[in-house]
């Protein structure tokens, strides 16, 4: 299963395969795109490349209570010059976790809808559950 980076959105713990990540950026200054889809937060300039920032809490239908100004984002790897450079806002990054196969489970049957679709597997950590998201499905 390999290494997974965990991160928080709205107190929910998510994880993403670390090999998919290009970088984590704090304090991004993004420009909103009026008239775009609501889950598109805006664009920002990452060393000359324009990255589209997503709000995956909106995408996944997570109840977003605090309309907090998030400024930390995870940017996914993409070929250079691909106009579709993707990043998404998170509350804060967590740890990098080594995962064993046994710890992972496919989403339980009652996790359905969009949420279920985007979650690749659920990891039973000692004290809580970690949801591994599947960027290919999301974006």
């Amino acid at each position: 299963m390999g290494k997974v980076l965990s991160f928080y959105i709205n107190d929910s713990l998510f994880g993403i395969n670390i090999t998919l990540i290009r970088e984590i950026n704090r304090n991004v200054e993004y420009t909103p795109v009026p008239d775009a889809k609501p889950y598109i937060v805006g664009l920002f300039n990452m060393r000359g490349q324009v990255v589209t920032l997503f709000d995956i809490s909106k995408l996944m239908g997570i109840n977003d209570q605090g309309h907090l100004q998030r400024t930390t984002c995870i940017i996914l790897k993409a070929p250079a010059n691909d106009p579709n450079q993707i990043g998404f806002l998170i509350d804060k990054p967590g740890d990098v976790i080594d995962l064993d196969k046994e710890e992972c489970e496919i989403p339980p049957a009652n996790v359905v809808g969009i949420e279920g679709e985007y979650i690749k597997s659920v990891v039973k950590l000692k004290d809580r559950l970690l949801m591994i998201i599947d960027p290919d499905k999301i974006f």
Binding site: D35, N45, P83, N84, I86
Partner: protein
């Protein structure tokens, strides 16, 4: 010294790839199971090397690769089994080839005999043929490297093949001077014509004529073109433009020349050369391209040979098409002449005497004895010795060592490298990033520049280098427009034939560079325009003759820089576009109604050409006139961010002008802001910016059912708010609450209406709509896309910026309003607005036929563009209000009456330590005079006069800016320009020069022009005031004056009248001065007309633009003396030309 050196780089690159292919294939070859495809691959690769090397005369490479090719040919034909030993030898040979390719310049010095020998050992049948060919080659001691017999054989196969396909075999025999050049028929063109109708085999000079050149009867070079074609002989004359008597149908194929004859001939020649050398002659060969090196420099080869005969012994002329016929990879570009001769002169003398570039003259060393010996035993032995014997070429080029080494160096320096475009794009990105970084650095360091010693120069350095870096990176994507232009001569040639018209294509500005992506996409539009020009534009030769034009039409394609854009003009001197025809056609096709057409202006009618489904060609030819095209051309050009314009004059011709941005990636755009967000709007579509002051908003913006419109020059302009289009919440600043609040009113500027209606009771507060003044200035960007116009209201405009366009990510592609993203100077991203998308989004439906009353709008426009005048209103002692144009006023001084000193009957004041005469206008003009009672006066000190005098006035009323309507009939007197009415009062405008003339006749006397001649001047001026003033100046000086209100009127007048000179304003409606002068200079009859620009814009830049455009002089319009002086001079200078 190398042939076609400019292409050698590509040859090397290509050959390297081939050598590598051979190596890989050889290494991987499976001896037990030969894959035919592998062998084929190697064969093709080696063949390609041979072909290209032959083109460059790299004989060693040719020889080695030829051997290898033969071997693989046999293997391919299964005449030979490949074995391990063979592979080793081939690999060794390939290595040798590699060495030669890597160092092409020295490849001639590399020993290849061993490899050739090794390979030849394996060769069976073909080797004999090859060596036989070599032998045959040797027969002619002076023949070129490739075997004559071999070539003849090959040519014969070509001919036989063609005949079997129904071709006829022809030969054209023509004297170079007598039959061809005299009638402007270039042999290279003949070859090209032949190629278009059949198969060109070869060209040579007639051998029998050569022998006669030995005796002194040499008159002309006789050329023989051999070719095959399906056409009958009678058609050939037309297709190739050659007399029928010059065309022969040879019954025999190309004969192998009798060996004995060749031997005898070559012996004869050899002995001749030998003899000459014994007498201290040098043996030379001139190798030159017929067109490129000779005819272009006015060097006629026949004359050349005649001259050679006068300075030495002429030996032989060889002539061939500049291309190995067997590899038709290169188009025939020229005919190569090789002239062999001996003379006592040194090389540099010959170069000078013959007017030939020294590089084209080769000194040949010939060891005739050994050569002949080698020739003799050629028959018997086996191939190995044979090839070896063939090794040293019969004549070796002597090349000085130093040039060789120099050349080598050059080659390595110019080394090019293939780079993927995406890498260049990356570089471009990074460079722009670096520019951003630099800007940030400079900003951050600004404060510390002084405090950190030495930092200043470092910053400057970084600044400089970054700019240069960005420029260089930009350059990597730039390509000359010649890449596109090169294909047009051929198209024109084909068109000329197809359409039966005579035409000539001229290309200008092929060196102008454009971004690669643009170069790639303008080919088709340009082709279309060229075809159009050839088909519709140019008349048939007969018609042209009737019109007194040269039979052959000219199409000029011109690329040049102008105002940050590259313009490409496609100009034909054909019939021009008949507007009435377009009109009737458009009505017929139902594109417009006859009512609409009747009110259309010229440009609007021309724009109809770009409508889909329009074609004016009376008969549809296969060249153009399919009714598709022009609209596609327009769309394509607009896609590139460019525009297209048409100018046409009946029976004079038509110009299509494409305006293209230099690069696609970077476009000038306006940065605008709404609701604190910035957007970039490309400037191509931006027509103007209307700025409305807060107190005027309610007056200017009107409503039609809550839709806002702006009256703009008689038309109604729909206004959309950018914020609304983008679904941004509009906010306003509430001064009471001192914060931003959401704007809830639909109609932002209509608060008066809203208030009176008060139909929003649920909003509660009646006072909400209370007279809240619009706080900000309203800015409206007027956008024009084709005939559609709209206004986009924005909050703020940040100025223009060159932005780098980046593609939209697919996640936001569905937003119609954007065409891309950019990163701005501060590193933030901004969306690039797409006006087209905004129109869609805002749901604006333009009636395509909705064209306002053109004439009315035109008048309005004239009214608006008319220069406004700044007037100084004042009074003297009388009650009359006087005015003087502010541009003539240097300053106004207040003085006490006591300062005025009388000397004789004149009054003076002390002004800046100098005495200045002051005059009272009422003394000279017909004004009421009263005793002044005040003690204070004002002095107007005019500028642009030679002998300044102050104008003494009593009171200054005001300065106003007005477009004035001048009345010069009611009140006219010397010293006055005329009268006008300002605020219901009659105001008299003073003519300062006349006033001064009256006051000081000595210094202000104008030299009058010869009364008898009275030159006719065309005055082009739109402002009535200046028109009157300048006419006054001119008429007074004795000129006859014609008046035009703008450039177009001027052109019409010029056609009807004989005019001696033109005096023109620059800023004018409809057609400005710059365009006027361009048209004048473009017109053959008017080109020499003296034209003077007079203007109120006197910046150096404007002056330069004016002079560049073709004005003879450029003067400030109010300076009478200078104006007349310059005009007089101009007439004198230019006078004799007319």
């Amino acid at each position: 010294m190398l042939k076609n050196e400019e292409y050698i780089q590509s040859f090397i690159e290509e050959a390297k790839v081939h050598v590598e292919t051979v190596e890989n294939s050889l290494v991987n070859i499976n001896l037990d199971l030969i894959d035919h495809e592998d062998v084929n691959t190697i064969f093709r690769a080696v063949h390609s090397i041979k072909g290209s090397a032959g083109f460059f005369d790299l004989t060693k490479i040719v020889e080695l690769s030829h051997c290898m090719e033969n071997l693989f040919g046999e293997i391919r034909n299964e005449e030979l089994q490949i074995m391990g030993e063979m592979v080793d030898i081939l690999l060794a040979a390939n290595d040798c080839l590699k060495v030669m390719v890597d160092d092409v310049m020295n490849s001639q010095n590399i020993e290849i005999a061993e490899h050739v020998e090794n390979i030849s050992r394996f060769l069976k049948t073909d080797s004999k043929a090859f060596t036989n060919a070599k032998k045959a080659d040797k027969k002619s001691a002076l023949d070129k490297k490739d075997g004559f017999a071999e070539k003849a054989k090959m040519r014969n196969t070509i001919i036989e093949d063609a005949i079997s396909h129904g071709h006829f075999y022809y030969m054209i025999k023509a004297n170079l001077n007598e039959d061809l050049l005299k009638s402007d028929n270039n042999p290279v063109q003949i070859i090209q014509s032949i190629k278009s109708i059949g198969k060109f085999v070869w060209v040579k000079n007639c051998e029998s004529e050569l022998t006669s050149t030995m005796e002194d009867s040499f008159q002309d070079i006789v050329l023989e073109f051999y070719f095959t074609s399906v056409l009958q002989k009678s058609f050939l004359t037309e297709a190739i433009n050659i007399h029928e008597q010059n065309i022969f149908e040879p019954s025999v194929l190309i004969e192998y020349q009798d060996e004995d004859v060749i031997k005898a001939e070559s012996k004869l020649k050899s002995s001749m050369i030998e003899e000459a050398i014994e007498h201290g002659h040098f043996y030379y060969m001139i190798k030159a391209n017929l067109n490129e090196d000779l005819l272009k420099c006015g060097n006629n080869p026949v004359e050349l040979i005649k001259f050679i005969k006068s300075i030495g012994e002429f030996v032989e002329l060889k002539l061939y098409a500049a291309e190995p016929i067997e590899y038709n990879e290169y188009p025939i570009e020229d005919i190569v002449l090789e002239i062999y001769f001996t003379t006592v002169l040194q090389k540099d003398f010959i170069a000078e005497a013959l007017n030939i570039v020294e590089q084209n003259i080769y000194e040949l060393k010939i060891e005739i004895d050994s050569q002949n010996e080698k020739d003799v035993p050629a028959d018997e032995d086996h191939s190995a010795t044979e090839t070896k014997a063939a090794m040293p070429e019969q004549a070796e080029f002597e090349k000085p060592i130093d040039t060789v080494s120099k050349k080598n160096q050059q080659l390595t320096v110019e080394d090019s490298i293939r780079v993927h475009v995406s890498l260049l794009n990356d570089l471009l990105n990074l460079a722009s990033e670096m520019v951003l970084g630099r800007n940030q650095l400079l900003r951050a360091m600004e404060k510390h520049r002084k405090s950190i010693s030495g930092i200043d120069s470092v910053l400057q350095n970084i600044d400089h280098i970054t700019t240069e870096l960005q420029e260089k990176v930009m350059q990597t994507r730039m390509q000359p427009i010649s890449n596109v232009f090169t294909k047009f001569p051929r198209i024109i040639k084909e068109l000329a034939k197809k359409l039966g018209k005579e035409m000539e294509l001229k290309l200008e500005g092929a060196e102008v560079e454009l971004d690669k992506s643009i170069i790639e996409s303008i080919g088709d539009p340009l082709t279309h325009l060229i075809r159009n020009a050839a088909d519709h534009g140019l008349e048939s030769p007969e018609d042209r003759e009737k019109l007194g034009k040269p039979r052959s039409g000219t199409i000029l394609m011109k690329a040049y820089h102008e105002g940050g854009y590259v313009n490409i003009d496609v100009i034909d001197d054909g019939a021009g576009i008949n507007l009435d025809k377009i009109k009737s056609k458009a009505i017929e096709k139902g594109l417009v109604s006859s009512n609409e057409v009747s009110i259309m202006g010229e440009q609007e009618v021309l724009q109809l050409l770009f409508k889909a489904g329009f074609s004016t060609a009376e008969k549809v030819t296969d060249v153009s006139g399919r009714g598709v095209g022009m609209d596609v051309v327009k769309t394509n050009i607009e896609k590139l961010g460019g525009t297209i314009e048409i100018f046409t004059t009946l029976s004079r011709g038509t110009t299509f002008r494409l305006l293209l941005p230099l690069t696609l990636a970077i476009i000038p755009s306006l940065i605008v802001q709404v609701e604190n967000q910035r957007f970039a709007l490309p400037q191509v579509n931006l027509q103007e910016i209307v700025r409305i002051k807060p107190d005027q908003v309610t007056r200017k913006i009107e409503y039609i059912n809550n839709s806002e419109v702006l009256r703009l020059r008689g038309g109604l302009l729909p206004i959309v708010h950018l914020a609304d289009v983008l679904n941004l919440k509009r906010t306003y600043f509430d001064p009471e609450a001192n914060e931003k609040k959401e704007e809830k009113r639909k109609t932002l500027f209509g608060y008066i209406q809203q208030n009176s209606e008060n139909e929003n009771p649920d909003k509660g507060a009646k006072g909400y709509f209370k007279m809240r003044a619009v706080t900000g200035i309203l800015r409206i960007l007027v956008i024009k896309i084709g005939s559609r116009k709209l206004g986009i209201a924005v909050d703020a405009i940040h100025g223009s910026e060159e932005i780098l366009v980046k593609p939209l990510s697919s996640f936001i592609k569905d937003c119609k309003c954007y065409s891309g993203v950019t990163i701005m100077g501060d590193g933030k991203t901004a969306m690039i607005l797409d006006p087209e998308g905004i129109i869609v989004k805002a749901n604006l439906r333009f009636n395509e036929g909705n064209i306002e009353n053109y004439d009315a709008r035109l008048d309005e426009e004239v009214e608006n563009i008319r220069e406004q005048q700044n007037l100084l209103l004042f009074k003297c002692t009388g009650p009359e209000t006087l005015a003087i144009d502010l541009s003539m006023v240097s300053r106004v001084e207040e003085i006490e009456s006591s300062e005025i000193q009388r000397i004789g009957d004149k009054e003076y004041i002390n002004f800046r330590q100098d005495s200045l005469r002051v005059i009272r206008p009422e003394d000279f003009l017909m004004l009421n005079k009263q005793e002044s009672n005040g003690s204070k006066f004002y002095i107007i000190i005019p500028k642009l006069v030679k002998h300044p005098m102050g104008i003494l006035i009593e009171k200054i009323h005001d300065t106003i800016q007005r477009r004035i309507i001048l009345n010069h009939d009611e009140i006219s007197a010397k010293g006055l320009v005329g009268s006008t009415i300002i605020n219901d009062k009659i105001v008299l405008l003073i003519n300062v020069y006349e006033l001064f003339e009256m006051a000081d006749p000595v210094n202000y006397k104008i030299k009058k022009v010869n009364e008898h001649k009275r030159p006719k001047i065309l005055l082009v001026e739109d402002t009535p005031f200046f028109q009157e003033l300048e006419r006054n100046y001119l008429e007074e000086a004795g000129y006859q004056v014609l008046i035009a209100n703008h450039g177009k009127e001027a052109l019409d007048l010029l056609q009807q009248n004989n005019v001696d000179a033109v005096v023109s304003d620059i800023q004018m409606p409809i057609m400005d001065g710059i365009e006027l002068i361009k048209r004048i200079r473009a017109d053959k009859q008017l080109a020499n007309l003296p034209v003077m620009a007079v203007t109120s814009m006197t910046g150096d830049l404007q002056k330069k633009t004016g002079l560049d455009a073709g004005f003879d002089v450029y003067e400030f319009k109010l300076d009478k003396i200078k104006l007349l002086e310059v005009l007089g001079k101009l007439l004198e200078e230019r006078g004799h030309v007319i």
